[in-house]
């Protein structure tokens, strides 16, 4: 019987890191209790790759994300994570309670703690440069003293991405990062994701319904549909050309490769 979760050795140099997956999953089944909601799925997320996670509402995207992040157990299969993997995620927009008093800089700082670091009183002070760098990259430094709850949706998303970046992640997973945004803000957020992926060499997974913008950005796609029992993943061209995908979304992408 395969171990449901394992660690792979962390590469010692950037050269060695190239082509090494940060998360490798095989025959992975996700669901609740003992019931899988999707067929087995195998794939691997590598650095500097951007994956798009596609499927209709209730298709199993969030369940797959939660399983990959370790927030809920897999029903079956194996997930091999890079040794000491630094994974972060940007949850859906309603995940944070807007009644909390919280300036943007506090919101970003709160992402610094990992493991037991919260017991070190100086940990946040030592991470100040990371906070400044993340806010600079996401263009949120001018919002630092504003209340998070008072930001526009686009600004909130930028602050959430900054919070995810302060731990120097290997893997960044974003769950519907552009919901409730206007088209210009959506475009700006996708450009930001592309920029941080290139600059930091992250592996990125984006679950989104904004396909026209997302498909211009991603190199790989995971397509899931719990109702029709579909879970496939691979290079963008391969998925966009698959019968399963065309049957569901072909009307949107006539002439796609």
């Amino acid at each position: 019987m395969q171990s449901p979760s394992a660690e792979t050795a962390r590469p010692k140099s950037p050269q060695e890191a190239k082509g090494r997956p940060v998360v490798d999953f095989s025959h992975l089944e996700v669901g609740y209790g003992r019931s899988a909601i999707l067929p087995p799925l195998s794939g691997a997320f590598e650095r500097a790759q951007i994956w798009g996670l596609v499927g209709r509402n209730g298709a199993g995207k969030s369940t797959l994300i939660r399983t990959l992040l370790g927030l809920q157990p897999a029903i079956a299969g194996r997930i091999a994570r890079l040794e000491g993997l630094r994974a972060t995620h940007v949850p859906q927009r309603h995940a944070y309670d807007l009644s909390l008093p919280c300036r943007v800089v506090d919101f970003v700082r709160a992402g610094l703690d990992r493991g037991w670091s919260f017991l070190d009183p100086l940990h946040v002070r030592r991470g100040r440069a990371k906070v400044e760098q993340a806010m600079l990259e996401t263009q949120t430094e001018h919002l630092a003293s504003m209340q998070f709850s008072s930001l526009s949706e686009g600004q909130k998303q930028r602050a959430m991405i900054a919070r995810a970046l302060v731990v120097d992640p290997d893997l960044l997973i974003l769950d519907e990062p552009t919901s409730a945004m206007d088209p210009m803000s959506e475009k700006a957020i996708f450009e930001l994701i592309q920029s941080v992926t290139v600059q930091r060499g992250l592996a990125v997974v984006i679950a989104s319904h904004q396909m026209s913008l997302m498909f211009g950005l991603v190199s790989h796609i995971v397509f899931v549909d719990a109702d029709d029992g579909i879970a496939i993943c691979g290079k963008k061209a391969q998925i966009l050309g698959s019968d399963d995908f065309r049957r569901h979304y072909g009307f949107m992408f006539e002439g796609a490769p």
Binding site: T88, Y96, P101, C102, D106, F118, L119, S145, V167
Partner: protein, 307 residues
């Protein structure tokens, strides 16, 4: 006012006890208010009540007959076994055991979500109060003791109770100030904290245990009304005027301490019930904080909408 300080040796224990309980519950109240389980305090008080009543019942129905059959008096046994039996059935142990049992389903994740937690706390409140009343019919003579043990009086605090409260406050505040980033992470972003490898279950357990211990200790020593007031009102006031959660903790602790102490002086000067006057002072802080928040420069600041 000067009469109060002239008689300071007489009043210093209850006045400082109010201040300590106010500071402790003011701090913990930030979690109570922002995690939206205001009803927790009332539910824990009733669970503690059931624990005390159960202890008395066990002493009456089990321990006393057992010792009587051994030829000893029911009270003041001398052997080790008797001491252990009396310790296990002490009202303090009963109250603590029952409150910890009551919060267990929340800490182990069996009761999740605000709505379900609210319903669960409602069940604890009703089961606690109904259970205490039902057991009360079997221990009529001890009912008065239960009332005084459970719902202590903020007017007069025993030196031994003051020491217990001071110890609980020092320990709890020490743990919470040291690990506040962890406690806030698991309170306000549990999924994010779990992904980043924080010990979410342990921190949540510690948080609820400290709430249970703080609330049941304060209820037993000062009474239910000031305890409920301290664990809600200072935090509500603090959240109104604080830019972040860290400052809310500081303000809530100060408001709580001030409510406990000034409330005692107010009661002395105007001959009011102590618990009620402490709650009134805490309520006044809420009114002042709400007004201050409305008048704060930039409170109506227009928000830039660009992405």
């Amino acid at each position: 006012m000067s009469a109060f300080f002239d008689a300071w040796p007489l009043f210093h224990d209850p006045a400082l006890a109010g201040m300590l309980a106010g500071a402790l519950l003011g701090f913990l109240g930030v979690y109570v208010v922002l995690r939206r389980f205001v009803f927790l305090t009332a539910a824990i008080s009733q669970a503690a009540g059931l624990g005390v009543a159960t202890s008395f019942l066990l002493r009456l129905m089990v321990v006393a007959p057992l010792l009587a059959s051994d030829g000893h008096a029911a009270h003041g046994g001398t052997s080790l076994a008797e001491s252990v039996l009396f310790s296990l059935t002490s009202p303090t142990v009963g109250a603590l055991a029952m409150t910890l049992l009551a919060i267990l389903p929340i800490t182990n994740g069996r009761v999740r979500g605000n709505a379900r937690q609210d319903s669960y706390l409602g069940v604890v409140f009703l089961a606690g109060s109904a259970g205490t009343l039902a057991i009360g019919t079997r221990i009529v003579q001890e009912l008065q003791d239960i009332q005084s043990l459970l719902f202590g009086s903020a007017v007069a605090v025993l030196p031994s109770d003051f020491k217990v409260l001071a110890g609980v406050a020092a320990l709890t505040l020490g743990v919470h100030i040291w690990g506040w980033r962890g406690f806030t992470a698991v309170s306000f972003d549990p999924d994010g904290a779990k992904v980043r490898g924080l010990p979410v279950r342990l921190l949540d357990l510690l948080l609820f245990v400290s709430l249970a211990v703080g609330i049941s200790t304060s209820t037993r020593i000062l009474g239910a009304l000031p305890t409920f007031g301290f664990s809600v009102l200072p935090a509500i006031a603090a959240v109104q005027i604080s830019a972040n959660v860290a400052r809310a903790f500081i303000w809530a602790t100060l408001f709580g301490a001030a409510s406990g102490f000034l409330g005692y002086i107010l009661a002395f000067v105007h001959e009011l019930p102590v618990g009620a006057s402490q709650v009134l002072v805490a309520g006044a802080f809420v009114v002042v904080a709400v007004v201050a928040a409305k008048l704060r420069p930039g409170a109506q600041r227009p928000v830039p909408k660009q992405a």
